[in-house]
Symmetry: C2
Subunit: 610 residues, 2 copies
């Protein structure tokens, strides 16, 4: 039994100064966690009990799909991560250190390499596969902007599982089995997650899904369609229009465009002075060429121009995902200086950039187009001259359309192709790539991420086994993560009101909060007896036995701490009754004291079984 | 149920190349742990089960003495450790790193500072005390020489508890309560530890005891007396003899001592040429002055001369403990160069060193004496001239005896005192400092260490609470550690034979190893049925269901893995019997198959209850 008089907890009336989201505010105010450094938290007794219960649910479901638990170190040598290239790819995002002998180590953000090496170390035959290993372990990321308490931390607990199969069909089966476990885990946690298609990013590999908990405080944007498509916004692929016949389209012409600093002004000018025959020009008819700086993992910087329809912004998150493991930022003045051919505000695709580069430019800046710029589409865009735009510039005629091959060839004589990039923002109403209807957008918090890694890591690290014919084949891997500490934050986001937390019984730090009010010794005796009785029957009780604390303060603390049920032993005891409150519904009932234990036990056990 | 056909384990016939001690060899060979880097290990499924059980026992006993479990980060900012001076004191022994913003962090080797700050953060009154907090958590030390598998690792699991009291009496009570929990933990683990007095070292504070597991592979030397004294060798204090009257002793005289390169030669020379009247000279009558280099935590080096009786070596471990947090090594040639007054091989105490230094030496090297060099003792020692020794040099007459005050004074006019140091080796037969008889020496492995820290940390970090009179008083702390991963190594040291491990049932990865031998389907069916039956009754079974593995290999694996009981289902099944083996006693009995489950369950439950 937990006694509030001795329990190491202090509830706070004020939100912590650095807290912006409900889970962060409430977990700190209710004494579940405490900040130790930016993005680094200490778990106090009540918080640790919640964390343990969440871990327990994850562990049970991992074991249920044949996962075997192991535990890797957090402190790992550089070499395996160098073999797969991730030592460099992670850039500033990992903690690196040297030991006293000067050897390089990292604090691991994830363990693909180590698991692959361990299996290589111990296993050698197809008979050993399939294999599923997992750990629940402390991980590290040197986040640029740790935020929102447990949501984006620098030290956090993850469950990471890895599957090992002899072939793709095996990987599919393992992946589906893990996926099923994820669905059950979030069901048991009562978190209504949405599995969405995802980019695999630095992890490599093919199929990948995120389990997003929809919440305004989430950092991910995802899309859904009425027909069931769901994807992280980074993973959304554009549905390009059909090519348009080029024949019969007007010739392009360069015009002075005074006072056209914005796209709205440009469109108004165009409709006034150079109207289309078929319909008015819209912002979607302008081709906006955005110059960005690409930052390679080794810190090297280079320019890139991205062409997107003028009615869309470049989504830097989508762009970064497309360029992963490189990072990206907008080009600043200094970045433009070595490139006088880039006429700021009037950059156009023809003749100056990448595949279209004039011979005059020795090192053309690479140029990538939005997939919507298909052959035959007609554009207003910069004329590469200050104060001038070009009108009726037709893709595939006046410049290479997205994905179109050039007459130029590479060293092997193959034609060069105009690259495309998924960089334009996704807008509500855009069509789902699978034809399942218009997309809506929402925000979510990534709680899980599952990957079909394939053979990337196995190949880099030489993980092969003998197949039934005695031939060495490379193992195919899957990797499956759940942010366990982040799930605690999601639980707090999902289960709270303006008075405090409201834990589901499966993860509550204790099941029942027993409050003794007033000063009467018999009240405290009855409350103590009840709490002991509950504990004896397997119901976890937190007994507020503080002698000189007002009923109001005790009730406030009970609401803030958020145990699912509260029993109040007070004045009613004289009439032989206690009060039973349900934190979620707010309902209150009166129970004869003699039946209190039995009724509470029944309620708790029913809720646990639900 | 664990099935050996799917269990992630491979037993190895050969000892790992880097393994020297049984626990390291066997835990690797039996597939419990696997090396990831020097001093850094991965826990495989069987090992993790043992670790979890050990943690469970520690947790239960901590809770039983009112400990409240929390969990701190491993990655911590520098500042708290700077406030107590430990950031510097740890020197090379901790892992340090910088985050992306250049802020200094460490991987914590222990958490006194953080616990003190947390309590300061939450508590403010004597009413909140006493308080006991603990965690079971991953810790880091950048050991100079990681060795022996789990025994001296660089990443390891510790239980660290901290008590907070208002006064010394409270600290005593808290200390004794923790001490009791330690005794029970090691009893339940079946580890015959010896609690010994210890130095508190870098931790600061007063009373301190280590719980040593006596073993030849241990790194600590400890002493015991018939009367019950027990101490780590670093903590042994010398019993000095009584002062001897100076009057009537012969005058000192310097002599040529050719061919006296060793103490034996010198003694032989002395007895031949300058015999004592009362008895022959012995090595204990020579005063050996050893020059060492003291290395401060900031890396600064300085010389120190230590005078010990010539029949004893300087024990570098004792010397280092006495100089903690500085480290120490023997002075090399370069260190002597700036000190021509130190005549190597002929250094004597008078006139050249420290308090005795001649005015000619501007910066005398400090000199510390063994406590045995009391006033009136008569010595042969170096004459500070090549090839010459001084005879009948009397402490307190010809040089300052240990602890004796000088006529010289410090800046405040106080007389300077000849410092003493516990640097001489402890020898079997030396008297215990408490008069409880002659000491014997043994080696042990430190599994636990408990400290009365007192107010050192609370003062440095400002941890004060209001006392009953409304006055702010500094809290007094205790700190209590158990090496949990090291305890697993001790368990393997304590419980093995030449065939493999022999786990006590309380910490075994599973209780019963069920082996099916031969090829008969009914044997495998019966074995499977038995294993399931055991599991259903709460007995953990590891079922060796491998189809094409010989009985000999299976028996060998069972012995190597070391579960406490094995049931063999094989040919006997035709006669309705199975074989039941006790791994520890080696005894084998035959049981009717129908009674097997019941009998095994009874045996296991009896052993668990024992």
């Amino acid at each position: 039994m937990l006694r509030l008089s001795r329990l190491f907890v202090r509830t706070l009336r004020e939100d912590p100064a650095d807290a912006e989201v409900p889970s962060h505010k409430l977990l700190v105010r209710a004494g579940y966690i405490r900040r130790a450094a930016p993005g680094i938290y200490t778990w106090l007794p009540l918080g640790l009990r919640v964390l343990d219960k969440v871990e327990g649910i994850v562990r049970e479901e991992m074991n249920a799909v044949g996962g075997q638990e192991v535990r890797f170190p957090a402190l790992l040598p550089k070499e395996p991560y160098e073999a797969t290239g991730r030592w460099d790819e992670y850039g500033d995002n990992i903690f690196r250190l040297k030991d006293r002998k000067g050897a390089d180590y990292l604090l691991a953000p994830t363990h693909e390499e180590m698991f692959a090496l361990l299996v290589k170390d111990l296993y050698s035959s197809y008979k050993d596969l399939p294999l599923t290993l997992y750990q629940i372990q402390t991980k590290y990321r040197d986040e640029a902007r740790p935020r929102a308490g447990l949501i984006r931390g620098r030290e956090f607990v993850m469950k990471d599982a890895y599957t090992f199969d002899i072939d793709d069909a095996g990987l599919d089966t393992s992946y589906q089995r893990q996926r099923g476990a994820y669905v059950r885990i979030f069901e048991r946690l009562g978190l209504p997650v949405c599995p969405v298609s995802a980019m695999s990013g630095a992890m490599g590999g093919s199929r990948s899904e995120e389990f997003l908990y929809p919440t305004e405080v989430g950092e991910d944007t995802f899309v859904r369609s009425p027909g069931g498509y769901a994807a992280n916004v980074e993973a959304v692929t554009t549905v390009p229009g059909e090519p348009v016949p080029i024949e019969g389209q007007p010739a392009c012409h360069v015009e002075d465009t005074p006072d056209c600093g914005t796209i709205d002004q440009l469109i108004a000018f165009a409709n006034r002075n150079h109207p289309r025959a078929d319909r008015p020009w819209t912002a979607a008819d302008t081709l906006k060429n955005v110059v960005v700086q690409v930052i390679a993992p080794d810190g090297g910087r280079s320019l890139l121009v991205v062409g997107v329809p003028g009615d869309r912004e470049v989504d830097m998150t989508r762009l970064a995902a497309a360029l992963d493991p490189s990072d990206v930022e907008m080009a600043d003045d200094d970045a433009f200086k070595p490139h006088p051919e880039l006429v700021r505000g009037y950059i156009g695709p023809e003749g100056v950039l990448g595949l279209n580069a004039a011979d005059a430019v020795a090192q053309p800046v690479p140029y990538l187009l939005d997939p919507r710029v298909v052959a035959g589409t007609r554009w207003i865009t910069g004329a590469n001259q200050p104060g001038r735009h070009v009108f009726d510039l037709v893709a595939g005629r006046d410049f290479l359309a997205a994905g179109q091959a050039s007459a130029k060839t590479d060293e092997d004589g193959k034609p060069l192709v105009q690259g495309t990039i998924e960089a334009a923002e996704v807008k509500p109403g855009d069509q789902a790539p699978d034809g399942s209807g218009p997309l809506s957008l929402a925000r979510g918090m990534e709680l899980g991420h599952i990957f079909q890694l394939g053979r990337k890591y196995a190949e880099a690290l030489g993980l092969k086994v003998l197949d039934p014919n005695g031939k060495l084949v490379t193992v195919t891997m899957g990797s499956y993560g759940i942010g366990v500490t982040r799930a605690v934050a999601a639980l707090a986001e999902q289960n709270h009101d303006d008075k405090g937390l409201i834990w589901p019984v499966a993860v509550a730090p204790a099941h029942v909060h027993v409050v003794a009010t007033g000063k009467a010794a018999e009240v405290f005796e009855a409350a103590e007896h009840l709490a002991q009785d509950l504990e004896a029957q397997g119901v976890e009780a937190l007994y507020d036995d503080r002698p000189k604390v007002s009923a109001g303060v005790k009730f406030g603390d009970a609401e803030l701490l958020g145990l699912p049920y509260t029993v109040i032993v007070g004045k009613g005891l004289a009439d032989g009754v206690v009060e039973f409150r349900d934190r979620l519904s707010g309902e209150s009932t009166t129970i004869p004291v003699g039946q209190a234990a039995a009724q509470v036990v029944e309620t708790v056990k029913a809720a646990l079984a639900a």
